[in-house]
Every structure is written in C-alpha cells, then in structure tokens.
C-alpha cells in the first residue's frame, strides 16, 4: 500500500488469530454508545424496525438482521466507525444502495452495517485531465450527468446505473451493456482511498493510472467488500462519442441472433454494446417501459456502434447487412436520442420488470465463451423444462455474459427448485469453459459454487490475500469464500467441509 495517510490505532493480530472458534464479542450497549460518540444519535440505528430494513439487499432470498446500522457522513466518520468495530472485534458490512444481486451486502449476525448513503458528493470534475473524484455513495448515472456539460461521461453502465453506487461498483467490479468495448469498473478506476479493517486509511492506485509495484487497486476492485471500504474513488471520464447509432433487430430464433453476434465479431466490428433479449424478457420489459420491443419475436439484439461519424456509418451498413443475412425480421433504427434511450430503457429495466410476469424470480449471472451461446441457451431451456420452471434470458451477448432469470412462485413452494436450477445454470457455465459470475459477484449466493470453478490451491491463495488485508476476517465475512457454515453445515453431527480439512478455509 503506497501511502498510509493515517496511523492504525489498533493493529490486526495476524492470520493465526482469527475470530475462528471464538464468536464475535457479544454486541452490547457499549457498541452503540461508542458509535454515538462519533455520530449523531439518529445516525446509529438500533431499533428493530430500522435494523430489519437492512436485512437484505437486492437478493431477498438471503436475510440476516444486523446488530446495528450506522450512517457516517464522510470518510473520517467511516474510518472512525471501522475503528470502533475493530476495538470491539465485531464484523461489518459496507452497503451502498443495496441493489446487489448476489447478497454481497447482506448483513452479518451480530455485525454492523456501515451505509455510505450519506457520502454522495461529487468532489471534483477535472475536465482537463478527464477525471472525476467521487464519494462512494454517488449513483453511477450521476457521474455521467455531472460530466455531460463538459462533453464527457463515465463508461461502465450497469443496468441499475440510476441507483447503484460507485462504491458498490468498485466492490463488485461492475460491468454493463457497454463493457464489451470499454471494459469493466477496473478499467476506469484510477485511485481509491480505502479504510482497512483496522481503521487505517490507505490510498490504492494513483491519479494517473500508472503505478509502481503490484496493482493493489486492481486487487481491491471486485473483492466484494472483503478487503475494506472505499471512501473516495477517482474515475476516468471519456469523451462523449461523436456519433452513436443503435439498431434493435428481431430474429426468428435465438440461434439466428447468436450467430449474428459471432459474425459481427468475426467482421472485426467492435460494437459499443450487443445485447440479447428473448421473448419472455421482452414481454415483461415492454409492459414496464413501452420501449417498442416486439414481444412475439423469439429473440432480439440491441446493437450499438459509437465513434467518429464516418467509421460508424460504414460499420453500420455492414452490421445491418449481417443482421439481414441471418433473417432479421425487423430492424428498428431509432433516430432521435430520446427514442434511443427508450430502447435502452427497455433493456435496462428488464430485470426489475420481470416482477410483472412472475411473483418471484432469481437473476442469474454467468459467462460462457461467445461461441457456445446457442449451446448454453438450449441446455438452459432443457433444464428449465425438466424443473418445470420458466427461464427468461437477457444478456450481454457480445461478451457471453448471460443473465438467465429463473421465474418461480414462493407461495407455490417453488423456491428450492428455482434456487437449484439457478445454481445448476451457473455451474453449467463453468462446465462450458466460462465463469460463475460476469458482473453480479459471488456474494452469499454463489460462495458454495466457488469450488466448482476454483481448485483448493486457488481458493487458498485468495484467502491468504484476504487475510493480509483483514487478518481477523471482519470485512464482510461469509461472502465470496465457501465457508463451511455456509455450505457444509448440516444439522446434527459436525462434519468438516472438505476444504476445511485441506486447511484452505476456516470456520469463522
């Protein structure tokens, strides 16, 4: 860590003394009192109704009531809160807008939730150097809104960009429709101020994006809150492209749409985004947004090109020719910016809109090699049929990032079947040479699937890295790693998890 800007008042105790067998110190009134010494009383939430409001994030299947919720107002107060947690030996979970879909911000029993929803200032828009300095609670879309008058924008655009925070984006290394061309959060964050588990404040990365030594910035991004809390983020801004052209193309089959994506890439066209939706997701989204999607088309692609006008024009012709070659049944090319935004709204509202066609659903997130898109979709359809459940598909086709939506009814007792199908789909992605998660993270939801993708050695290394930052495992414990209590614990006689036996993971 390049720069220690504050002395750690309470150093960690080293990896050999985690809170392993000893439970976290009982949370008593002293903890709340200590928080009230550094925060106004109303920003320390102790009442049951308040605490229960924080028991889950965007993934409601996993819930845990925290002991306390605190709402610090600036970076110093965040550090002060973390130091109090360290002093009391209690775990904490950082929380942005609580929109995550993998249970990454689910609280820990007897732990503290540190909400950064009061840290929402845009500290600086540096037009000359094309940078923005942000507090972690700034909404993703707000960055582009603030940069827009200067002809700049922030590229990563998760579908929840109107509400998800940059702090959460850093934790999850969030992507979005346009990361096919522009990359993920990690490609756009230059520098971060981070509060570590012991309350010390460090700076990772640097303002120019160049740094000597290991890329600790890169390590932190995507660590899902297990290494610390970021309190200030410097991001790169890009120049708004000269031209943007978007086409919404309907196809007679999922396969035809999938083949189109392959051909576009083969033609050396790099679109800003290539998104695919199936008829079920279009039905839901159209009802929610009236974006002009054809609900009875089996599949549609939303393809966007951006860049210099001449280049975009030439590529656009090529692109539409490819679509037509694959039997596109309709090509809708919005001409007005407003109309284009409407099409995007139709895509971006899809997850949430599925609530209109199903009482409950699970949003899955996996990656397959682009060449196996058609294959994986066929397999998912079969698995859905076998499980007797509907699966809607919305995904970033350009980079093979799938978002199958498993529809079910809690009240009809379908929860477990849906949960299983969803897990099977994620693990299928790994089987086909892909990944458990593209952008939503592992969180609570997929921690138990990690051994499907990673060997004991891999997990062992990850865990040692984590302990280097957080020796007591108090930053967002129970996430990301397949702890036995999460995955192996069964009522009755204690059975060690295989990874626990191998010494890779520990009982927290």
């Amino acid at each position: 860590m390049p720069e220690r800007t504050m002395e750690a008042p309470h150093g960690g105790t080293g990896s050999d003394a985690p809170s392993a067998a000893t439970p976290p110190a009982a949370v008593g009134p002293e903890l709340a009192r200590d928080f009230r010494d550094v925060l106004p009383a109303d920003l320390v939430i102790t009442d049951e109704v308040g605490r229960r409001s924080y028991e889950c994030d965007g993934l409601t299947g996993f819930r845990q009531v925290p002991a306390l919720v605190v709402l610090p107002r600036d970076a110093e107060e965040v550090a002060a809160c973390v130091r109090i947690c360290a002093r009391h030996g209690v775990p904490f979970v950082a929380r942005g807008a609580g929109t995550g879909l993998s249970g990454g911000a689910m609280p820990v029993a007897d732990g503290v939730v540190i909400s950064v929803q009061k840290l929402r200032r845009i500290l600086e828009i540096d037009v000359e150097n094309r940078r923005a300095v942000l507090e972690p609670g700034v909404y993703n879309l707000e960055i582009s809104k603030a940069a827009q008058p200067h002809g700049l924008y922030y590229a990563p655009d998760p579908s929840s960009q109107q509400v998800c925070t940059i702090g959460g984006n850093v934790a999850e290394n969030s992507g979005g429709a346009h990361c096919l061309k522009y990359g993920f959060t990690t490609n756009h964050v230059l520098e971060m101020e981070v509060v570590l588990a012991d309350g010390s404040v460090v700076t990772l990365g640097g303002p120019t994006g160049e740094q000597a030594g290991p890329d600790l910035r890169g390590l932190f991004i995507g660590s899902e809150g297990t290494l610390g809390i970021c309190t200030r983020v410097t991001v790169r801004l890009l120049q708004t492209p000269e031209t943007v052209r978007t086409v919404l193309a309907d196809f007679p089959s999922i396969e035809a749409a999938g083949d189109t994506v392959g051909d576009i890439v083969d033609a050396a066209i790099i679109p800003a985004a290539v998104e695919m939706m199936d008829s079920l997701s279009m039905e839901a989204s159209e009802a929610a947004t009236g974006a002009g999607l054809t609900v009875d088309a089996p599949a549609a692609l939303i393809i966007e090109l951006d860049g210099p006008a001449d280049e975009v024009e030439a590529e656009f012709e090529h692109l539409t020719a490819i679509c037509e070659r694959h039997g596109a049944t309709r090509l809708h090319v919005p001409t007005e910016a407003e109309e284009r935004q409407k099409v995007w709204k139709g895509r971006k509202a899809a997850f949430a809109a599925v609530g209109r066609i199903s009482p409950d659903y699970i949003v899955q997130d996996g990656v397959v090699p682009r060449t196996r898109l058609a294959e994986v979709l066929t397999r998912i359809a079969e698995m859905g049929r076998d499980a007797g459940l509907r699966v809607a598909n919305v995904f970033h086709a350009g980079d093979g990032n799938l978002h199958p939506l498993v529809l079910y009814s809690e009240s009809a007792g379908e929860h477990d079947a849906a949960e299983k199908l969803s897990t099977d789909i994620a693990e299928l992605c790994v089987e086909l040479g892909g990944s458990l998660s593209g952008e939503h993270g592992i969180g609570t939801d997929k921690a138990c699937s990690m051994p499907v993708m990673f060997s004991s050695d891999d997990l062992g290394v990850m865990h040692r890295v984590r302990l280097a930052f957080d020796p007591d495992s108090r930053c967002n414990p129970g996430k990301l790693f397949p702890t036995p209590r999460l995955c192996g614990e069964r009522p009755g006689k204690y059975q060690p998890h295989p990874l626990e036996e191998a010494g890779v993971i520990e009982r927290l």
Binding site: V49, S53, E55, D57, Q117, S160, Q162, A349, G355
Partner: protein, 470 residues
C-alpha cells in the same frame, strides 16, 4: 438484538443459509391481517409486486435527504409487509416512517415492476388514523388543519386575519420566529407559508356560468365543462380560477362552476382520513351530477388526482360505486382539456416572450402521468421558451399538508427545489398546484414570478402581460 439467535460457542448457522429467524407464533400480533384491521389492509398481491430492486430509491425525496432504508419506498413496503405479518405493531417506528412519506408517488413512476405504491399508501394511512393514538399535540394540530383548509368560508375568514397580520407583522418577526423552540416548528412553518393575502381576491366568487365565446367561424360549442373551484385555490389563488374559466370559454366551452360545491376531499384522503374523504366525494359527485356537465375540469393537481380515484374510493358502496365511476371518468386536468383543443384552437395566442420553467406537481406528473400536456399547452404560446428543471422528479416538499406536519424535511426539499429553479435562469416559474406555489414561493423569496400555467395561456389569449410579470 433479542430477535435473532446470538452466536454462541455452538453457533446456529441457519441464518447464514438465508433462513430468517421468524418470530415465535405467539409473538405475532393481531389476526388474519397481522397488525392491520380488516378494513382494506394493504393487499398481499400488491406487496408481493415489490422485488426489492431499489430503482425507486433515487427519486424518493426522503431517501434523497437521509439515505435511510426505512424512509425509502421499498423500505416502507418492507415495513408494510412486516406489519401485515404481525411482526411489528403500527404504533411507533411504523407510523413514524409512513408519516414521513410525502405521498409524491415518484416511486410509482420509477418502478419497473409496476408496484402500485399509491394504492398501498392509501390503504395504509387510514389504518394508522384508525388504530394509532397520536400524541395530544399532534392530534390537535391535525384536527386544526382539517377544520380550516377544506372550508372556503373559514379560509376567507382566516384570510382577513392573515391580511391584517401581514400589515401589522413587525419587521423583527423573522428573528422572533427563529427563536421559537423547536416543538413549535409546525406553527412557524404554517406562518411562513401564508401567501400575500388579497382580501378582495379571497372574497371574489366565480360566476356560476361563463358562456362559451362563439363567433361566425366557430358557431358550435365544444360542450359543458364543470369547474372545480377548490378551497385553497379559490381563496388564495382566485385569479387562477378566473383565468381558467376565461380560457375554457375562449376555446368554446360553457363553463359551469356550481356555487354549492365544497372540498373534494383530497387533503383528507391523502392524509388517511378516509371516512371524511368518502363523505366529501359523495357530496361533490351529487353536485356535479346536478350540473349536467360533459367534463369536470380542475386546475389543482392534488384534487384531480383524488377525483380520478373516486371509483376506487366508493367501490364498496353499491349506491355510489357506479356514480363515482361515471364521475371519475369525466375528470380532466385543465391542461388535458386545453391540450385536446390544440389541434383545432379557436382563440388566437398573442406572443409572450419569456423563458418559462415548468415544475411538475407530483400529483399531476407522478400520480396522473400528465407531463407532456401542460408542456404542449405552454409551447403553443408563441415566444415561450420552455426549460427543464434538474431533479424534476423530486417533490418540492409541499405534499398536501406535509409541509405543516414535517416542517424540517419540507424545508430541506423546498430549498433544494428553489436552488434548482434559480439555476435554470428562467423568467417565470409555472406549476399547476397551489400547494407547490405556496411552498416554493417561501424559498424563492420573490426572486421569480410564479404562476399557474393557465395564467400564461390566458394572458397570451388576451394579449396582456401575465400577472406579476409587469
């Protein structure tokens, strides 16, 4: 800390597996509807629509202010669910967080899942009014509001006092008020909302009938429009009603403003006073039935919103259900009525050079989804340049009687709105709700003329400068 198992030497990891430690059955409150009584509790299927995605958060005014989950739409729905299961009582935190909701319905606009928060809130507030005993001072303050605002005569009488007070109000009053203890904050808020009172306007009555302006080119009437004159509107913003009648008449409508009409019940309905709202709705329906009109127009966003909901409000009453439906089907905001005439306008618009910023009243934009109509009506005035407001979707803090009940939150929101308005550099602010006008006026400090959009249309048709614009 007592509601979930504490982690002991033999830890109970069940919670880690997503199993919620549900309260013991014996702890649960109430009967079939948990802590709610059986008179229209928030419907389970409406609660189920919420998938906790959080898309509503940025547009919720209280979440924008405080960033607390309990004071967000999805948080409040979560509380409703807990109450519905009988896990928490209505008294205490539940009432606090529901009371803090402005009822602006920005979340309804933002929700991709189509959650009908408006219906959930309208089911929840009466539950609180019926089942939660408020503190004595809170009760008295609320009673005072509802004993004054829905009554034109009492408002007129009050306006006399108000005018006198404003004449005599010492300059040092600001300082004096600043020193009033916080517990009287609501009274101070009320004082500061008092508009410049014109006693003459307050006591002016609308003519019962304003005949359509007909000429040889347009000898046919468009029809008969009944005009809701409103309570606060008619007393404090009487010129808006006059402008409305003139515009309608100029566009070929006969305008009927029944003398005996009283409050539409919107203020009470939005505050959970259901029984009162039902009685007012019935009276108003009967009044406009007698007037035999084709359309019922209102220039108040809050009134229009509740009048359009009379069908649901009276759905249980076999004698009134159909009449309420028929009434609701005729209700139009004035901007809708005028917008429909734009294809074939009768009254010539004179140029009016002005940069105009239009503020969407929540009960027009969010509740009635009327956004483009008023803008089209304004753009039809030659010379008008319309500018948009940043954070347009966020409430100004007026929200019916909210700015009297929750003065601190309302004042933070009012200041935020005023700053956004000033940033546009517009010459005039227009908005279609008297509550918004009163609220924003307080924070704009006379920096900008403020009008109802129909007043600009009226000035343009008559070829005069709009009021306050010299």
């Amino acid at each position: 800390m007592t509601t979930h198992p504490t982690t002991g030497p033999t830890p109970d990891f069940s919670s880690e597996r997503g199993e919620k430690p549900a309260p013991e059955r014996a702890d649960l409150l109430g009967g079939e509807f948990g802590s709610f009584d059986d008179h229209h509790p928030p419907a389970q299927e409406l609660l189920d629509d919420c998938v906790h995605c959080g898309f509503c958060l940025p547009t919720c005014p209280t979440y924008a202010l405080w960033g607390e989950e309990m004071d967000s739409p999805r948080g409040r729905i979560y509380l409703m669910e807990m109450a519905e299961k009988g896990e928490i009582p209505l008294e205490g935190a539940f009432t606090t967080h529901i009371d803090r909701c402005l009822g602006c319905m920005a979340c309804v606009t933002a929700c991709p899942s189509g959650v009908q928060y408006d219906r959930l809130l309208e089911a929840t507030r009466p539950q609180i009014e019926r089942n939660v005993r408020r503190s004595r001072s809170d009760r008295l303050f609320r009673e005072a509001i509802f004993a004054l605002f829905p009554y034109k005569r009492r408002l007129r009488a009050a306006s006399l006092g108000g005018a006198l007070y404003q004449k005599l109000r010492p300059k040092s009053m600001e300082k004096l008020l600043a020193r009033v203890p916080e517990r009287f904050g609501r009274l101070v808020a009320m004082e500061s909302l008092l508009p410049p009172v014109s006693v003459r306007d307050a006591f002016r009555r609308m003519p019962e009938r304003t005949p359509a302006v007909l000429d040889p080119a347009h000898p046919e009437r468009r029809g008969r429009v009944g005009l809701l004159t409103g309570c606060v509107q008619d007393v404090f913003f009487h010129p808006v009603n006059e402008a409305t009648a003139r515009v309608l008449a100029a566009e070929g409508w006969d305008v009927i403003a029944p003398r005996e009409q009283a409050c539409c019940g919107a203020l009470g309905l939005h505050a959970g006073r259901e029984a009162e709202a039902v009685e007012r709705a019935k009276k108003l329906i009967a009044t406009f039935e007698r007037a035999q009109v084709d359309t019922i127009a209102t220039n108040v966003a809050g009134c229009g919103s509740s009048m359009k909901e009379y069908g649901e409000l009276l759905a249980d009453d076999p004698e009134w259900a159909d009449r309420a439906q028929a009434f609701a089907a005729k209700v139009r905001d004035i901007s809708e009525v005028v917008d429909e005439t734009l294809a074939d306008p009768r009254a010539r618009r004179h140029p009016l050079e002005a940069t105009v910023v239009y503020h969407d009243a929540c009960h027009l934009g969010h509740a009635q989804k009327i956004r483009s109509e008023p803008r089209r009506v304004l753009r039809a005035i030659p010379g008008v340049e319309l500018v948009e407001l940043p954070e347009a979707e966020i409430c100004c803090g007026s929200a019916g009687i909210y700015n009297m009940l929750q003065p601190q939150a309302a004042s933070d929101l009012g200041r935020r709105k005023a700053d956004n308005i000033k940033g546009t550099g517009a010459d005039v602010l227009v908005t279609a709700n008297p509550g918004c006008l009163l609220q924003i006026r307080k924070y704009l400090d006379g920096e900008l003329p403020m009008l109802h959009p129909i007043q600009l249309v009226d000035a343009s048709i008559r070829g005069v400068r709009p009021p306050e614009m010299g």
